[in-house]
Amino acid sequence: MLLFLLRRTVGFLATLLAISVIVFAVMNLLPGDPALTVLGIDSTEDARAALRAQMGLDRPAAERFLAWIGGALVGDFGTSWSFGVPVAGLIAERLPLTLSLAASGMVVTLVVALALGMAAAANHRRPGDWAMMLLSQLGIAVPAFWLAILLVLLFAVTLRWLPPGGFPGWGEPAAAASSLILPTISLALVQSAVLARVTRSAALEAMRLDFVRTARATGLSPARILWRHVLPNALAPIVTIVGMQFAGVVTGAIVIENVFYLPGLGRLIFQSIANRDLITVQALVLMFAAIVVAANFLVDVAYVLIDPRLKARAT
């Protein structure tokens, strides 16, 4: 078990390193002159050279990479070109909002998807099942940001129940929470359409297993059999998709923050792109990719926790 965790952790760290190389390479080594993009084509070569020196771009790429990654390891992502403050500080300020949004989006996704998927499986080949399949087919085709716009139209513009966007800050918890409701729903519904389908087919698969009949023969209620016996045995494919969906939720949060003008990392990334603040973008892309990889790492570990048979093999 310990050895297994160790191997997975080493693999995880190696992946992180590879990702940082890719991010750095795309942003630094591809043809293109950041100084030119910052200063515009009217600038003089001298001015651009001065800026490059100021940004440290005149040093060799390998040296710059090592400096960057070494800093990142101790939480120093350099100084933002546009804000003039440490990138780490910018991130720390905005991270709670993005993480809250991603976490609440994931939780709602799980609740909705498990409820719908299990209900559909329990009603296999009956109208409820067909309705869920139809609804999810449609849900998969709806872009999250359009759903967000529709929700704003209904709940903010027409009904005026919820704010159309913006964030009052954590100082006002109630207002903060209500400004996260629509973003969370838009983020979750589309994801849950995918997950509900996976849940349904995994549950149908598990329902055919013999021990379900044993459970029925002991007089357990259908609901108990469904949630206590079928669901745990259907969890492996569900967890796989959840891992992938976490990536979807996190990048979805980037989009949704922009729909609702929420000051999180997603907004920061776009402000930085607009400001040609490469060093900030670079740090943020690395962060997001790291979150995605970490989610998949956790999924790998979760398998082993779910299934005692794997635990035996992993030791």
């Binding site: 590879a18 890719i22 293109g32 085709a141 872009p143 139209l153 990536a247 490469l278 892309v285």
Partner: protein
């Protein structure tokens, strides 16, 4: 023999609708899509402007049609490029086997760490936002997807008798790949391509919505929605039509992919 599955027919019809709008837009639109007519802004639907006009008096139908062309072009480019590269990579990995295959698949795993949006953000930050960069980013994320599918399908063919016989006869792996492997993985790749078309259209819409795709005045469904969002209080319908266009097209490709998969692998039909 049997009737094509209903989802394939419905999906095909929806896709045909979008493709027709895109093709016609190349030679004709009711109005030039960017023609301003400020006196006639926010016009309601009429015989002239079927779906009305936007805040600058531009004809909505014309914009949606050109948007369809942009959207499908990006999806086509991205899936063709990413799918072609990925399939080639997967076939090569499967043909070589051993550490080459392992390495190729490890690299693919890395690709999964970058959702399209992140990659597009990197490209936009490095080169500035454009429709071409959006297409490139979507193509990039398609490479590992197709590589996996092609390799998985190819690995199943490499152990079949007719291929083993070819190897015993001393034929090269390239010749065998072209003769036997490619025809046998084509179905899996085509099914995946259809599904990835849907994914690409969603991704393009999101990127254009965020300003990382189509740049003004080139219309795109995503960008139309971004503009419409600021006008929700004035003319909500502007935010409806482009969204519907996306849903119809994505649903079409999704249904078509499901239908094709059912055709290619009838064993799966039972369970879905």
């Amino acid at each position: 023999m049997s009737r094509p599955p209903a989802n394939l027919l419905l999906g095909g019809a929806l896709v045909a609708l979008a493709a027709l709008a895109a093709l016609v837009s190349l030679v004709w639109t009711p109005f030039p899509h960017a023609a301003l007519d400020v006196a006639n802004k926010f016009a309601p639907p009429s015989a002239e402007h079927w779906l009305g006009t936007d805040q600058l008096g531009r004809d909505l139908v014309s914009q949606l049609m050109v948007g369809a062309a942009n959207s499908l072009a990006v999806a086509l480019a991205a899936v063709a490029l990413g799918g072609g590269l990925g399939t080639a990579l997967g076939l090569a990995a499967s043909a070589m086997g051993g550490w080459v295959e392992d390495l190729a698949m490890r690299i693919c795993d890395l690709g999964f760490a970058f959702p399209a949006l992140l990659f597009a953000i990197m490209l936009a930050a490095a080169f500035g936002p454009s429709l071409a960069n959006a297409a490139l980013a979507i193509a990039f994320i398609n490479v590992p997807v197709f590589a996996r599918v092609a390799r998985g399908a190819a690995n199943q063919v490499w152990v079949r008798e007719f291929v083993l016989a070819g190897r015993a006869a001393g034929r090269s792996r390239l010749a065998l790949t072209l003769d036997h492997i490619v025809p046998n993985v084509a179905a899996a790749v085509i099914v995946q391509a259809t599904i990835e078309f849907a994914v690409a259209i969603l991704a393009e819409a999101a990127l254009s919505y965020l300003g990382l795709g189509a740049q003004p005045p080139s219309p795109s469904w995503g960008r139309m929605l971004a503009e419409a969002q600021t006008l929700l209080w004035i003319e909500p319908m502007l935010a409806i039509w482009p969204g519907l266009a996306i849903v119809v097209t994505v649903l079409g490709f999704g249904l078509m992919g499901d239908g094709l998969r059912d055709l290619a692998d009838p064993r799966l039909v039972r369970e879905r």
